[in-house]
Symmetry: C2
Subunit: 490 residues, 2 copies
């Protein structure tokens, strides 16, 4: 095996024997790979899909099966809930959520095609009940299929784009609908005659002297096999949250986090893409969250850091709030609650009670904070909350509560010991068509990528919203499949 | 020219004619390239140095000519100033300053060899007066040669390693000694018979099918020339602060900053290195500073963000304070001063007076901040400052002053309009020997790099200290020169 490396392609000219040939070779059987396979096969291409694990899945199967959708007047579920979502609002939100280098081309295309993509998902057999569940939740507890999944209703997003709930979850009883989503997609993949090879780890790309990707080397039954891909290779291998060495070199802030959401997300596709000249961008970006918003009354608390300072409007998406926790000094932040809103957090979250007291001054002392730090923060917050606004952080009025009903408590979220799940957002730079760009901005011939092997719609940890990654995987997986099959998308 | 690209090497096998041959080819004539050339030539190698500009310089010539040195009982200047600096303290400081992925191997080597490196610099003819200038300054105003140039005396660094001043500036009247430093190094380069080619832009590396770098293509007088480098190529091309497209893709936080410190720092060496499989790491990291610490009385002020919150102990290195400003919400931070410490900031800094008042409440109102935000911050600060400590941010007692002598002012530093200089810290991953590593952690044969084309001693913007980059350029430039010439450093 040591003859082959993800770091550099095997020279096409040295291939002595092709063990197999296909038109479109797809690496990775998560949502991105599955959607790419469906589209490529529907376009008439011969498709082979290689998966390192023993079955479909990837990080997609570990997800809630939620897809960020909207615009165009609203989906059926949005309209039923009273939200006539506009394409412009969706586009504006995605642009803000994309951070300082949001991908304008992908965002414009996705905003325009979002409703059609929803229909496509339904056409594949993905069920949507169409029922809206208001409030702050992580995933529907039963089988509802529309929730608020981002920071749409929170400042500053709410000031820039009309808020609408856009988290469309597959109809599934309880959490974890991602497994069902990917199983449905697998059914379509197989019905279309895609050649699926599991327990097949791709070791290296093959490229000719001009830099064109012509195939790959895959280990099956312990034997390296040379596979010709006449039309192209699609990398749908996921991110690198399971690769400690890559995390250290590219995203060292994640080293404090203990709960990667991944399976085989070892970054191999990103490395292979870079090895043939592909450009990997925003490799430092990642999503993280601690599920602190349940029960929902906790959202009426306020977060302070180890200096006793607030740092964000707590009504933002839980992942945005969590990501901002990592920017604070030290490892701990405290959610301050009074007796009226206190509720036991999810056990999963590993949130502890750090201090209780009959006054905020007592809580402050018990936390060992200097006098009139936390207490001053609460005093200012309470004073304005009593007037129904939050001029400092602009938390929306519906989540404001004067925290004056003792006893009081500080709940501790510890970056290192609480449950902070994470996955990476950096990856290959691609066109909306899925074509991988090199560092000079030109496509690498024969190479495509989608999902978390790329830097896509979600590319800024502070702007992540649930459903953005699966939106990106499913939609741009489709685009990559079509492009690789030879359909000109431009 | 369009036949050649930094993104991919030209195939060795297709070179029809070599226009020239050398043993060690060095790209870039800043401090790293110059030191590499000196060592390679002294080791007996034939050396050719290519510089895209019309003469020596690079970002090094724009610097203060300050080199971070110490340990081993202290340099002559340190000892004369009363600091018996230890290697352990230097190593501990460099490790903290290097952030979450500090390069332990480079740090250990540099800490051990720092005094010898100081002697080497003197041997090249770099003059050091040996005089220490205490206090907070950017660069010596006259020709003193030792200053505090980092956060050594500030928390948390001071708690982990015995503080010592380590900024050794070349003896030079006024700011900007970097030009003199590089001129002296050029004298040595030329005396050693190095073949120096200016106005010579390297377009592409040349590599053979095995991935070994065998030469480069350089444009001289409008004509591409193929140059064989029998022993190796050293990339000493600097960072990418002048390349807007690279900044956007890899370090978008810098897009707000207007004052890149660079000349031809367009990232070409990093791109060429990546093109032959080299790994570029920590590409999101950068140094930035606004020269706000002069006059020094301003350091007794406290910074607050647009929420009226403090965010750092203001006695840290000005670059660490400035870098932390970028983490705050919005574009503005305010330096709060009372009449006793107010002084006109450097014109260069473009710092404006945003508000004045006879009370902090009045300043708060004039800034449009919610009531009892900034005022509460000052009240808590003052109350502890009166007791001689700062339990919230741990500013050292010598910089604490109760801010109670009105009138009061808020000086505004605006990330977008004040003078925030910056340069990038991400780059090629190298061994202490200068060998460039690929993404699998193996050396790319024939390729070396040093200085800001690499991720070196300075690799974390929040820990940068003046003199770290030139320490890295000069010392690891030397190592690269020796390695490329064939000296085994291990």
């Amino acid at each position: 095996m040591s003859d082959f490396t993800t770091a550099r392609p095997f020279p096409h000219e040295r291939v002595e024997h092709w063990d197999a040939a296909t038109e479109v070779a797809i690496v990775g059987f998560g949502a991105a790979g599955a959607c790419a396979a469906i589209e490529a096969a529907e376009a008439g291409a011969a498709v082979t899909l290689f998966e390192a694990g023993s079955g479909n899945g990837g990080a997609s199967a570990l997800s809630g099966g939620e897809i960020y959708l909207g615009g165009g007047g609203g989906t059926d579920a949005q309209r039923a809930a009273g939200y006539d979502d506009t394409t412009e609002a969706l586009q504006t939100y995605l642009t803000m959520a994309g951070g300082p280098d949001a991908d304008a081309a992908k965002i414009a295309l996705y905003a325009r095609e979002s409703l059609a993509h929803y229909q496509w998902l339904k056409d594949q057999g993905v069920p949507y009940k169409g029922s809206f569940l208001p409030g702050k939740i992580i995933e529907p507890a039963e089988d509802d299929t529309l929730i608020w999944s981002g920071s749409e209703a929170a400042w500053p997003f709410s000031a820039a784009a009309a808020p609408a709930p856009r988290g469309h979850t597959i109809q599934f009883m309880g959490w974890g609908g991602g497994r069902k989503l990917i199983d449905i997609l697998e059914g379509r993949v197989r019905a279309l005659g895609v050649d699926v090879r599991c327990d097949a780890r791709v070791l290296s790309l093959i490229a000719d002297a001009s830099g064109r990707v012509t195939g790959l080397i895959v280990r099956i039954d312990g034997t390296p096999q040379f596979v010709r891909a006449r039309k192209g290779v699609i990398l749908a291998t996921g991110g690198f949250c399971m690769n400690q060495d890559m995390l250290r070199r590219y995203a060292p802030q994640t080293l404090r986090l203990s709960e990667p959401i991944g399976e085989n997300d070892n970054g191999s596709g990103i490395l292979m893409g870079m090895g043939v000249g592909g450009d990997a961008i925003h490799m430092d970006e990642f999503f993280t969250t601690c599920p602190w918003i349940m029960p929902e009354s906790l959202v009426k608390g306020i977060f302070v850091n180890e200096r006793g300072q607030r740092f964000i409007n707590e009504d933002c998406y839980h992942g945005r709030v969590s990501r901002t926790m990592l920017d604070q000094p030290g490892d701990r932040v405290f959610l301050l609650v009074d007796n009226a809103i206190f509720a036991r957090p999810l056990d999963l979250a590993r949130i502890e009670i750090a201090a209780v007291g009959d006054s905020w001054e007592e809580v402050e002392r018990e936390l060992g904070l200097p006098e009139d730090t936390l207490a001053a923060t609460v005093r200012t917050f309470n004073r304005y909350a009593a007037e129904g606004h939050d001029p400092v952080f602009r938390k929306a009025p519906e989540w404001l509560k004067v925290l004056d009903e003792g006893p009081f408590a500080a709940l501790e979220l510890n970056i290192r010991t609480s449950f902070f799940s994470f996955f990476t957002l950096g990856g290959l730079n691609t066109l909306p068509s899925g074509e991988v760009l090199d560092r000079a901005g030109r496509p690498v011939p024969g190479l495509y990528a989608a999902g978390r092997a790329t830097s896509g719609l979600p590319r800024w940890g502070h702007g992540y919203s649930s459903g953005l990654s699966l939106a990106d995987c499913t939609f741009f997986g489709r685009m990559a499949g079509r492009s690789a099959a030879g359909i000109d998308l431009s």
